[in-house]
């Protein structure tokens, strides 16, 4: 009997380690004639620099075009990775990215940590306020006020140094919502980004109130300090592209002015990056969101639930085991899972573990975190269900000669299942919804698709409502299956 239980412990521990096989490490340097694969991190939700084209849903934007031109010149093969801005540098640090192309402003702090290419954008910051606010017209007026900023962006630092309190937001659009609602007083952001927002959204409730200082900021490609060679290649390519006018042309196409040279104009003309109606946006996004459901949400749910149930069963049996070590290990696991936020677990797995050399791709990382989470909750459900099976059932199994494994499999667990199904159905519904958190570790699931389009079109309410509708339909269908399953498991009850 103990050996069987030990086996279960091994199972618990191993399934924790399953996904821990080394992920894709930093792309190997080019060998022979093979072009080097370079992974580019970009937001994909920051028009007009990095966003999805409304027509084709392809990644596009000024920064995207610049890095594509650089890649062609330098002979790189690009692989784009879209992630929220605050996730880009952790991803670069953990070796999941080789370069960040997302209007990264060069600052002394960042220079201490990263390598920068020659700048390809020279820009100014502006202060954005509500349209009817005439008290704030410059950076100095922000002292003691609240601004909405992305945590790791340089503009947050500018605002803080001007004496503003900072309300952190995930990107520019949600910040504007806070501004309109009067929950913050201003936003400091890049001139071009703000002009794009005003042109695309047609929002007349906010305005550019004034410049955020006179300083001209420089944006460049960011690399890890270990990758000087890649930076050299980028610099050579940027020099050549400046020389032959390619960079200038890209800038002209987007902004009607050349922002790629120092001392060039900052007087730009930004076209709307998206001119669709709300209805067209919804129609165009419904399909990519459905694909996100099929490729992200559902596989994540199925895999995490299956692995989570196995983990939960292992932990439940370990909790019921006479072996102290097993019991305590399981107690610890369950307590940690139930006592910490899923979001924190997800971030530890994806952004934390690489620092100790455990490097998982987005899908395995999300599945690992989600199944560990499901397992922690399922363990207690299953333990209670197993305990609800009367002692006489074990004895009857024992006297007909069954061993521990047989009595569990054939006598106890089938009866425990009946008790466990309703609470486990709840776990499943929670899991389906929790998969939306995987968007934060770069898994392109349903909600991520909604965020991407919402960021580019500023249609938050309709798009998030559509995402909610998708989740609701899936959960509803799942809950429909619960009744028949319960009836099936209870068919022997008179």
């Amino acid at each position: 009997m103990p050996s069987f239980r030990l086996l279960l412990l091994a199972l618990v521990v191993c399934s924790g380690l399953v996904g821990l096989a080394p992920g894709v490490g930093p792309a190997a340097a080019a060998e022979g004639d093979q072009p080097r694969v370079v992974r580019v991190g970009t937001e994909g939700v920051y028009p007009p620099f990095s966003y999805r084209d409304p027509e084709s849903n392809e990644l596009t934007g000024f920064d995207v075009d610049v890095v594509r031109a650089v890649a062609e010149e330098a002979g790189w093969e690009l692989r784009f990775v879209e992630a929220p801005f605050d996730s880009l540098f952790p991803a670069l640090d953990s070796g999941r990215l080789d370069v960040v192309a997302n209007q990264v402003t060069i600052t002394p702090e960042r220079e201490a940590r990263y390598l920068f290419s020659t700048p390809y954008t020279y820009s100014r910051g502006v202060v954005v306020t509500a349209a009817d606010d005439d008290e704030i017209t410059s950076l100095e007026d922000l002292r003691g006020r609240t601004t909405a900023q992305t945590a790791s962006s340089n503009w947050a630092k500018v605002a803080r140094e001007a004496g503003a309190r900072i309300q952190y937001v995930q990107d520019f659009g949600p910040g504007v919502e806070l501004l309109v609602q009067g929950r913050v007083d201003a936003i400091v952001n890049d001139n071009i980004a703000v002009l794009d927002y005003l042109a695309t959204s047609g929002n007349d409730e906010v305005k550019i109130a004034g410049p955020a200082g006179e300083e001209v900021l420089e944006q460049a490609l960011a690399f890890t300090r270990a990758d000087a060679a890649l930076r050299e290649e980028a610099d050579a390519a940027i020099a050549a592209l400046t020389e032959d006018g390619t960079l200038g042309q890209i800038s002209e196409d987007y902004f009607g002015a050349d922002v790629t040279v120092e001392g060039g104009t900052t007087d730009v003309d930004v076209r709307a990056s998206d001119s669709r109606t709300r209805w067209e946006v919804l129609q165009d996004t419904a399909w990519p969101m459905f694909v996100g459901l099929l490729r992200g949400t559902l596989p994540l749910t199925v895999a995490s639930f299956a692995i989570g149930l196995a983990l939960g069963l292992g932990a439940a049996l370990a909790r019921l085991s006479a072996i102290r070590l097993l019991d305590w290990t399981a107690r610890f696991y369950i307590s940690v899972i139930r006592g910490t936020p899923l979001l924190v677990q997800l971030f530890i797995v994806f952004y934390g573990l690489p620092q100790i050399g455990v490097d998982l791709d987005p899908y395995p990382a999300a599945i690992l975190a989600l199944s560990l989470n499901v397992g922690g909750y399922a363990a207690e459900i299953m333990r209670a269900a197993i305990l609800s099976v009367p002692r006489g059932q074990y004895e009857a199994a024992t006297v007909i000669g069954m061993d521990y494994g047989q009595s569990m499999r054939r006598v106890v667990l089938p009866q425990a299942a009946r008790t466990a199904v309703p609470p486990l159905s709840n776990s499943l519904l929670s899991l389906i919804k929790d998969t939306s958190l995987a968007s934060l570790v770069l898994v392109p699931e349903l909600f991520r698709e909604a965020q991407v389009t919402a960021a580019a079109t500023f249609e938050y309410l309709p798009l998030y409502a559509l995402a909610a509708l998708y989740f609701w339909i899936v959960c509803y269908l799942v809950s429909l299956a619960q009744g028949p399953l319960e009836r099936r498991l209870s068919r022997y009850v008179a």
Binding site: P390, A396, Y492
Partner: protein, 254 residues
């Protein structure tokens, strides 16, 4: 060695409570042994020691060729487990509260042990099971779930399930005391048949008249000791005062 069951010096304590105080018991193949005694006297513990549902502290149990000395158990966990398994395989058990598997049909309850544990051919196990069901008067109820049966029928399935393993000894722990009075008769009838067919039975019961009819040997337990033992005459003409008092109380109640 002509005895099929041989129990020597069985001792068992639950914490401070000394429940079995040196029990000896022998039974010849084909006989029925009735164990009587007041509640708490150790009858169930004795029966459960015979198939090691309880582990005695000392003493030995032998059924047929399987023997286990709890005072000096075989060295090593594996050897001990083998000995327990062998001893268990010699007996079948009928519980007071039947303990049928509620999620399996009557037929599945019967073939579970033969097929899953004894690895017997399924067809053969099913045929056996049908015969046994007919024998306990339940032909035709193969596909019912236990919850669809009356208490008496459930207990008869419990008996058939124990017999399906083809044990050498059948242990019954108060098989009728959880039943409504009108259902007791049908179960006792089945047990009586088994005794007549020559099964070796050890039955804990409060049914004094039934025991008098069926038992070849009677043990009267009190306080973890065998107070009196003998043939069925123990129940008509006991020598011990304690036995006499117990019998008059039970007969009055019955």
């Amino acid at each position: 060695m002509s005895e099929l069951i041989e129990v020597r010096g069985l001792e068992k304590s639950f914490g401070e409570q000394h429940v079995l105080r040196g029990i000896d018991l022998t039974a010849t193949a084909g006989t029925a042994t009735a164990v009587l005694g007041p509640s708490g006297s150790g009858k169930t513990t004795l029966l459960r020691s015979l198939n090691v549902l309880e582990t005695p502290d000392a003493g030995s149990v032998r059924i047929s060729d399987a023997q286990l000395d709890f005072g000096a158990p075989p060295a090593g966990k594996a050897a001990y487990r083998r000995a327990v398994k062998a001893l268990r395989a010699r007996s079948g058990m009928v519980f007071q509260s039947h303990n049928l598997f509620p999620h399996r049909t009557v037929l599945q309850n019967l073939i579970e042990g033969p097929v899953q544990v004894q690895r017997r051919d399924r067809e053969e196990a099913v045929a056996d099971a049908r015969t046994l069901l007919a024998q306990v008067g339940l032909a035709g109820r193969e596909d019912a779930y236990p919850a669809q049966l009356s208490g008496g029928q459930q207990q008869r399935v419990g008996i058939a399930r124990a017999l399906a393993l083809r044990p050498e000894v059948l242990l019954l722990d108060e098989p009728t005391s959880a039943l409504d009075p009108e259902l007791v008769g049908e179960v006792l009838e089945v047990v009586r048949d088994l005794a007549e067919q020559g099964w070796t039975l050890v039955i804990v019961t409060h049914e004094v008249r039934f025991a008098r009819d069926v038992a070849d040997q009677v043990l009267f337990l009190d306080g973890g000791r065998v107070v009196e033992r003998g043939g069925a005459e123990v129940l008509t003409d006991p020598r011990e005062e304690r036995t006499r008092r117990f019998l008059s109380r039970v007969l009055e109640a019955g």
